[in-house]
């Protein structure tokens, strides 16, 4: 009797488990409620959510621009500057005074009250004590800023040392412009603010679990049009294909994919793919302070010995029909708003000249050099290996240390002479001044990885800022690039491509640089 009942139980249990498992298997595929947008990221989601610190742009911009808003912003389609938190703004004749008239009734997330001039001041006053707030990365960005004055509750005035027209065109609408709450700053302090994001944007931060996910939820009392999705979660993946497979399996709506792999996703009917050309660049940098790279002839020699086309072939072969098209000949990409150097010189492989130059420099049979190629946006280590084999031909023996990006930067800036060469790649905002500013003399200790200082270059950057006329400004920028080229500080390889794939049932929206415009995305 007892026994039979027990048998029954066993049978029941097994049945339940079977059903359960099958359910799991079924539920694996489509478990999507369209009001959540799931974005796949590879590696870190964000290092810090402080609105004004920029690190790993390509990754954090979409998140920050959904949470924070600046006084001004870009129209994602036209890249025109348009009002945002400031309804309108005035620039004085001499360009030294900027007045912003704030929008009324804008509220901060998490009940931090209404946006007032005080908040703007508090946020931007941080530039005066940038070190305390860990903002020095960007210290160059507003050199002319003298002081900020609160005119009335909704009016704030910036006093500049000299006119800077890039301020409005690029700086204010980007990170620098983002405004956070005074209260929040006081409450959380320099450490806390890195994880407690308080903005006015359409989405507010719900949770951020490192290595896992960062979830935004729709901000109920957003001042402008409410976004389509209630919830946006950025999910971290260990590798591109992991994200890609998740996307194929319908566990994601959007994912960054390796541009090399676009063909895989194009094949999938449920997916749309697009390759963007962000204002990023990948280059082989020379540390001009370290021997033997302090000798320009050596740098020239290497420039003639490196076959960029082969590098591109190695990366894009079989994906793009003509990889040469992707070649970068100078720092600014065509997608930057201005300053693209159309007729930048193209250096072809020329081993004879290379050997000759080396001989002149006193290295007739080459030398050994350490060249880190830390993985950043993808492909750097491979590029390193290719260069390694190319330089062997002119007797230069390249050692590639196994080094992670952060470790490389730390050591590179700690020991001047340690790494005479390196392979790096950056993502930037598509504004010339924001890309060129890193290679000025003051940056030598922080971001100027070539450790190259050229006073004319610094001066030109300032000149350009003070120049209201864009075409003139553009000339200055080209001039700056010419300087870089003359001093042979780098071998430009490509403008980092960035590819995004998304499910066709999502009405996705991206900036020209490939950054998701989360707040504008819709489901179909």
């Amino acid at each position: 009797m007892k026994v039979r009942s027990l048998r029954k139980k066993i049978v029941l249990v097994t049945l339940v488990t079977i059903i359960g498992v099958s359910m799991v298997l079924v539920s694996s595929g489509q478990c999507e409620e369209l009001s959540e947008l799931r974005v796949g990221r590879v590696g870190t989601l964000a290092k810090t959510l402080d609105p004004n610190i920029m690190s790993s742009w390509g990754i954090t911009v979409p998140i920050k621009s959904a949470v924070f808003e600046g006084l001004l912003r870009y129209n994602p389609d036209t890249m025109e500057v348009e009002p945002c938190l400031a309804e309108r703004w005035e620039t004085s004749k001499d360009g030294k005074e900027l007045t912003f008239y704030l929008r009324k009734g804008v509220h901060f997330h998490k009940g931090f009250g209404e946006l007032t001039a005080e908040d703007v001041k508090a946020t931007h006053d941080r530039w005066f004590e940038a070190k305390k707030w860990g903002l020095m990365d960007a210290i160059r960005w507003i050199p002319p800023l003298n002081r900020i004055e609160v005119v009335d509750k909704y009016t704030v005035k910036f006093y500049l040392e000299y006119a800077d027209y890039t301020l409005v065109s690029s700086t204010v609408p980007m990170f620098f412009g983002y405004v956070t709450s005074k209260k929040a700053l006081d409450e959380h302090g320099p450490e806390g603010i890195k994880t407690h994001a308080v903005g006015t944007g359409p989405y507010e931060l719900e949770e951020w679990v490192p290595m896992q996910k960062l979830v935004l939820k729709r901000f109920p009392d957003y001042w402008a049009k409410k976004p389509w999705f209630d919830k946006v979660s950025f999910i971290s993946f260990g590798s591109y294909h992991a994200a890609g497979l998740a996307l194929k399996a319908g566990e994601l709506d959007i994912a960054s994919v390796r541009p090399e792999d676009v063909d895989i996703y194009e094949a999938d009917p449920n997916l749309d793919v697009n390759v963007f050309q962000p204002a990023g660049f990948c280059w082989i940098g020379f540390n001009v302070q370290a021997s033997p790279m302090d000798d320009i002839r050596v740098r020239k020699a290497i420039r003639y010995a490196v076959d960029v086309d082969e590098i591109l072939q190695a990366k894009w072969g079989g994906v793009v029909e003509d990889p040469r098209k992707l070649r970068a000949n100078s720092i600014l990409s065509p997608s930057t708003v201005l300053g693209f150097w159309k007729d930048a010189p193209v250096y072809e492989l020329d081993l004879q000249r290379s050997r000759k130059l080396l001989a002149e420099a006193g290295y007739p049979d080459g030398f050994t050099v350490v060249m880190p190629a830390p993985l950043h946006y993808g492909g750097e280590p491979e590029i390193g290996v290719v260069v390694q084999s190319q330089l062997k031909k002119v007797g230069i023996n390249v050692k590639i240390p196994v080094l992670e990006l952060e470790a490389f930067r730390e050591e590179h800036f700690r020991e001047t002479g340690r790494y005479p060469m390196f392979v790096e790649s950056w993502h930037m905002a598509p504004f010339p001044e924001q890309q060129l500013c890193w290679f000025t003399s003051p940056q030598v200790e922080t971001w100027n990885e070539m450790k190259w200082s050229n006073l004319r270059y610094d001066e030109l950057l300032k000149k350009a800022a003070g120049e209201p006329d864009p075409t003139k400004r553009s000339e200055y920028y080209i001039e700056m690039q010419r300087l870089m080229d003359e001093d042979v500080v780098a071998i430009w390889i490509e403008y980092q491509l960035d590819a995004k794939a998304w499910r066709t049932d999502i009405d996705a929206k991206f900036m020209s640089s490939g950054w998701e415009v989360i707040q504008e995305m819709k489901g179909k």
């Binding site: 590798s239 082969e310 590098i311 072939q313 190695a314 290719v386 240390p401």
Partner: protein
């Protein structure tokens, strides 16, 4: 019933036949691996560092029996050269750690008192880290390079050997013939050399044979994490990584190095079991199996 018994019997014979080739197979595999490692330059169809972007990720072909990797390097050749890395790391790692363990263990056993305790504490400390984590940390400090990897492995494995040596030395030390030798005024060092080393090292050799395979596996793991041997040196782990990154395009890139790793690990544990039979045939097969397995776990994870 009787029918079943008959069935059993046939398999007893079967097992008897089967077990012996299984034993020597270990030796064979290892010899082959060594051959490949030594003569890699001679037998490799291509230069493993010779990049050729034009036919990257090419299919299996006559010129490239295993295809090419993401930089158009010949996979087969890289596997051959990978054998070099693997065997070097495995064997060097084992011998260095064996040596360290031997010395420290003996010192502990002979000096006793505080020194003994100190060394024991060191061993226990080292043993209280999960293997791979300890290695990761050491590597993160000394920076990855083939020698540093060997060093890290040696430090990590030292403690197991050290403890074994200490224990055995202590027991052997008490045995009469050693006592006698000492009584006869033989010099300590000579005793150590002649008797103790002989009695202590034997069993360790088996452990060591086992560990070579697992150090190889660990090296592969490190290289997979990108903390292994620096480029362009070929390593199975790095090949696995490439395969992992190009999984969607060319799955075979994962398969080849996996096979290589399996063969190496299996080969060395079989070799170790053969050694064991050679050194003490008394041990039962089942137990041996489990023993080898135990050693394996200690290093795989």
């Amino acid at each position: 019933m009787n029918a079943k018994k008959g069935f059993l019997k046939r398999f007893e014979i079967f097992s008897f036949v089967l077990s012996s080739p299984l034993r020597c197979s270990g030796v064979v595999i290892v010899v082959i691996l060594l051959f490949i490692a030594i003569f890699a330059p001679a037998i490799a169809p291509h230069d493993p560092y010779d990049i050729n972007p034009v036919n990257r990720l090419s299919e299996i072909s006559f010129t490239h029996p295993f295809g090419t990797d993401n930089l158009g390097r010949d996979v087969l050749s890289r596997m051959f050269y990978g054998t070099r890395t693997a065997l070097f790391v495995g064997m060097m790692g084992v011998s260095v750690s064996l040596l360290m363990g031997l010395i420290l263990g003996m010192i502990a056993a002979y000096c006793g008192s505080i020194i003994d305790d100190a060394i024991l504490l060191l061993f226990d400390t080292l043993r209280s880290f999960p293997t791979i984590i300890l290695i990761l940390v050491i590597i993160s400090v000394v920076g990855p390079s083939i020698t540093n990897i060997v060093l890290a492995l040696a430090i990590t494995f030292m403690s197991t050997y050290g403890r074994a040596v200490r224990a055995r030395t202590l027991s052997v030390k008490e045995e009469d013939y050693i006592k006698a030798a000492e009584a006869l005024g033989a010099r300590r060092l000579r005793i150590i050399r002649s008797h103790i080393i002989k009695n202590v090292v034997g069993p360790l050799i088996i452990m060591a044979g086992m560990d070579v395979g697992y150090m190889i596996a660990l090296e592969a793991g490190l290289s997979f994490l990108g903390l292994g041997v620096p480029p362009p040196t070929a390593s199975w782990g790095k090949m696995l990584r490439v395969g992992f990154d190009y999984m969607l395009k060319d799955p075979l890139l994962i398969i080849w190095p996996s096979i290589a790793l399996f063969v190496a690990v299996a080969g060395f544990s079989l070799l170790a079991e053969a050694l064991r039979n050679f050194l003490d045939p008394s041990v039962r097969r089942s137990v041996k199996g489990s023993l080898s397995a135990i050693r394996s776990q200690e290093s795989i994870s």
